[in-house]
Structure formats: C-alpha cells, structure tokens
Amino acid sequence: MARKEIIPKKHAMPCQTPAERVKNFAEVALGYSEQTAMAEAARCLQCKRPTCVDGCPVEVDIPGFIARVAAGDFVGAAQRLKEKNLLPSICGRVCPQEDQCEARCTLSKKFEPVGIGRLERFVADTQLWLEPAALPPEPPLPPASGFKVAVVGSGPAGLTAAGDLVRLGHRVTVFEALHKAGGVLVYGIPEFRLPKAIVEREVQALQRMGVELRTNFVIGKTETIDELLANSYDAVFVATGAGLPHFMNIPGENLNGVYSANEFLTRANLMKAYRFPEYDTPIHLGKRVAVVGAGNVAMDAARTALRLGAEKVFLVYRRSHEEMPARAEEIEHAEEEGIDLRLLTSPVRILGDKENWVTGCECIRMELGEPDASGRRRPVAVPQSEHVLPVDTVIMAIGQSPNPLVPATTPGLETTRHGTIVGDPETGKTGKRGVFVGGDILTGAATVILAMGAGRKSARAIDVWLRDPERKW
C-alpha cells in the first residue's frame, strides 16, 4: 500500500479578522466547512494504538469518529462522539486540546497534530440545530431503578453526571443557584468563544432525556444537603464549582471601577450587559482597562473589555510569557486583537479620585528568581521600579476558590485549606454517606473536560453504590 502523503499542518480555522471581531460579540472562530472537515479528517493515520485517546479525559473514540467524518458520515460520527462525550459542541470549542488529545497525537511528533478539537466541534455542530425529531433516536433508557439523585450545580460536572445517571435509569434533579443552567459555561466563558445558545441547546437535550432542572435554588439556603437526603433523594452529587473570586488585598481594591473577573464576565455574559440598555444590567465601560492575571479568565476579561469599547487594554502579569497559564490559542487571539501585555509586572495599589473612581494602577516591575514550590521561577520585585498605568478600570483575574456555602451548611463534609471538599478522586465519595463530589469543587479551578470526566466517574460510582444491597460507606 502506498504510504499516505502527510499534510504537515492542520487545516486553518476560518476566523473573523481581529479588526472586525473586536467590534462584536459573535464567535471568533467560524468552524470548518464539510470539505475542510473531510480533508482534515483524512490527515488522521487511524493508528492501531491511538495515543490521542489517552490524552482525552473522557476517552472519546477519536479515530472512530474521525473515520466517519472522512467518509462524510457526520451522523455516524456524532453518535460515536456522543457515546463518550455528552457535550461535544462545547468541548470542541473550549478543551485545551493542545495539552490533551492533540498533544498525544502521533502526528504531533513531526507535524501539527490532527485538528481533533476542530473536527469535534464540526461534527457536533452539524447535529446541534436539527429538530429533535430529525436526530437519530436516543438509545432506550434502562428500566427505572426507583432511585433519586440530586445534583447540586449545573456546570459541566453536574450536567454530565445528570445525563449519565438518567441513562443508568435513575431519576435526577439538578439544583442550580443562578437563573440559568451551565455554570461557568454561561456566566464565565464569553459568547465570542462559546455561544450561549449552544449551552442552552445541550441543556435542553438533557431535559428531553428526563433530567429535571430546578434553577433559582441555592443549596445551603433554599434547602440543605441533609434536607435533600432526608426528603427523598438517595444520593447527592455536589458539583458547585470554584466560584469565589480572589482579590489581591492591595489598597484601592474597593474603588468604583475595580471588578473581579467573575463580576465583569457575569455582567457581560449571563446578564448580557453588552446589550445594555436593551438588557437592564449595566456595566462600567472603561476606556483604559488593566486586567490582572494571565489565565483563560484574564484573557476572557481582557477581550470582553475590548469588545465593550475599551480603547486600551493592558494585561498585567507578574511572570513571563512562558508561564502564562491561558491556552496558547487564547493568548494568540488576545495579542492579535491588540491587548497590551505587561509581563513581569505586578500591581501594588489602585489609585482613585475623591468620588472613589479608579484613576490608575500603580505597578512594580518583577524579575524571575529561584524556582518556587510550583517549579516556576518566583517573581521578585525590582526595587524602585514603581510606575503608574493610567487606567479607569481594573479587573482582578487572579483565581477563584470554591464557594463555602455548601460545605458550611453540610455537617460531615470535610474541606481542605484551599476550600475544596475532600473526596476520592476516582469516585467522588466524601466522608458523608450518600454524598459524592466532583469538578472544580473537588480539584480546585481546572477545566471543562476534567469536570465532565469527574461527573462521569461519580455517576458510575453513584450507580454502583445505589444498586449495592449493602450500601457500605
């Protein structure tokens, strides 16, 4: 057999141009056409030992779905994908593929890997907008188990667990504090990276499968976990995420114009403040904005600020480019859009006027010293290098930890000093009988796909436990 000629690079993803896209909230990446998808799929070597799958936390049958794309069988590809991944249209967009599946692709040793994420997105999107009647029928549900499970939180961990538990024959209610389901997918990740209509569509699909969704229901306030267990639920899966924003505790942080990234993004995404006054929620539109941090959250905040009309957006980060934790693609997009990276720089205080409005952000330059506990070189302040960035808005995107609401109202749940709930990483079992945990609340802020993987593992563990006549804990 003649050796297949390898195309060294991934087929390019069509994107809105930077100049165009900074003026709107529409999706930046536009998605493959059928032809491009089939051509990209043809790059896959269909390895006998597909190492790409090892890199996927939910073990998607990557060569399997890609073979179907290459053959033009998109419906078949989607079915393959959905066997392992409940939310492919989302993962195809936001998974850090460069560290996961694509990092392990055989091709990546010499060439660019197969565009697995792009193909995943393409396949999922071909199905997304079909009427339910036009979709291939869901496999029939097993006989009802008679058990009821409460899922707390509707982020990727909660949604995945809910879907799996319904497929295992259990009755499931998802309780969500906010008015919309999706967790970070709806309040954090911006429209231009993940259109909210997609999340809504995926949630509707779960509801059609039988998942009951109760929004506006705060566990720990409206009802406690103990009440859920006492009232009718046989098990509880806690997936409340890591939603508590951190501040730096520097002077001036409570000035008007200082936001946590959570607040800024929630106003913009969940509340649609970018469409104010058509939507009622306002947002302070800075002309010059400093975003502190360099993770995905910081990139999202910076790029959202640009789209809201900021003339200048600085990204202030105390380490160097190499250490920036955001996805490579996001950093690249941000730089293309004109975000001004101020690396090796750290804020020391925020300056304000008499009326409490931000007038500037005083920063200090840093240099990298000895490696610290995380193995990264520790930034050390350069004496006498203070300088002021003239900005009217500062957005703190320096991380978040779990919200203490559930642990604080649930006797018997142990937390770590980072505020995460203690649970078995394989099953999510906690120290409290019948209560499982997974996603960011177990691991600390991580990724969508890891949260989904956790939801899946716990769903399996919950199923086993519920059906075990002894129900040992």
Binding site: A177, L178, K221, T222, L244, K272, P277
Partner: protein, 287 residues
Amino acid sequence: MFPILAARTLAPLVKEFVIDARPVALKAKAGQFIVLRIDETGERIPLTIAGVDATQGTVRIVFLEVGKSTRKLGTLGAGDSLLDFVGPLGNPSHVEKFGTVVCIGGGVGVPAVLPIAHALKAAGNHVIGITGARRADLLILEDEMRGACHELFVTTDDGSRGDRGLVTDPLRRFIAEGRKIDLVVAVGPAIMMKAVAAATQPHGLKTVVSLNSVMVDGTGMCGGCRVTVGGQTKFVCVDGPEFDAHQVNFDELMMRQRMYRNQEKTALTRYDECRSAQPREEVTSRG
C-alpha cells in the same frame, strides 16, 4: 414562574407584592433577602423579605420605585408572574433575648426591620420601634410596626405626622434620658444608618445595620457587593447583610452605590420614552 398573588400601593412609588414561592417561604428568617428577575432582559434585583406565610407558601416584598427595574416591577400586578425568584439569601438576623432593643426603620427599611422586630419581640425582648419618612404620605406599615413593637415612635422630616425630625432624634433622646438599651437595629438608606451609627458609637451602644450594596448574584460569586467592615473586605450577600454598624465604612458604601448612576439614568430615560410612546391605557391598565 413565580405568580404575584396580591399587589397594593403603600405610598406613592412604594408597592407591596405577595409572591407564590413556597421553597423560599418555608425557609426564610428575619433579616434575609431574595433576588428576583422580572423577565428575560431583566436585571437581578435584591429585595428584603418583608414577611412570609409558610402555610400559604407566600413571600411578601415591598419596594420603592427608584429606577428602571423597580419601575418596571411597579407596572406588574396580581395575576402577573416574575420569571425568577431565589432565596432566602444572606444570613438571618441574630435573634436572642438581649433585653431592650430599639428597631429603627427608615423609608423602605421599615418592611425590612418589621420581621426583625417581630422576631426580637417573640424572643422576649422589650422592643422600641422608631419609624420615619420624609412626609406623612410616605410613611408605610405604621400599624404593623405598632403591632411588632411595645412602643413606637414616628418621625417625619416636615412634621406632617409624629414628631418633626429624623429617626435619630428619638434615639438620641432615649440615650440622653439614660434609658437602658441593649441593642439598636437600623435598616434604611445608607445615610440614615450612618447617622444612627454616629449617634450610638460614643455610648458604646451595640448597633446592627443591614446593608444594601449593589449586587448581582447574591451568592458570593461576583464580589460586586463588597464593603469594608473593620478594615476588611466583606461580601454583603454572604457575610451579611447585617454588620456591626460601628465597623462599616459607610462613605465607601455610598460611593459604591453610585457606581452605575450614569447608566441608571440612561436606562430610565429610555424606559420613560418608550413607555410614553405607547398608548396610555397600556401604561395604566394595571394601575
């Protein structure tokens, strides 16, 4: 959807709704609040729980029409529904037998202080109420306050009802007379709560206030509601809403409350223009 079962006007621009929201009604305690959203384009509006009927599963809210959202809310009436209604949020008031407690409500702080006064009375305290408004017609829920307190003092800025003056006047008088007071609870506009704090601080009189900073989620997720209390940043929605009045940085709170003033004006002007462009009947049909 959360149906509005009953609606009435308590004073010009002040309305009372009874909402069908059983899960909230079953749990609510004095001092807690809810967050509601009128419709899909609406913002999340925090309002204090002004009483519940657990058997009926209803929650009472009282609001002052100050801007676009509360105005829009005011156009609704019995038979309409709210899209979202979540709670009870925030920590309940700390209720125990303190001895003599002065409960002060100013403006739409009255419905907020009312359940607290009830709870404190039920816990065996001697409750002295002070309620105030700018004018007699703006004074609300006076009879209910009278029922919740052992004694009630009423003030209006212009003297059109009760004593002429501010709610702090009777308070200062009790202090001057040497009445034994074990706790003061004050809910109202920030400026009023600041004045109460200033009146009691020199006498070391324990004072609790319920803060109304600008909120979004009400669950500790955004940090927008933060205030400085005792030099530390606190989130009003989860650490409060009640705090030791003598530790609160009221000036910062008041400045933060003005954060969206320009946008609020834009929203209101646009809203009024849209509404005046509609046939008048539609505007007034729900009265």
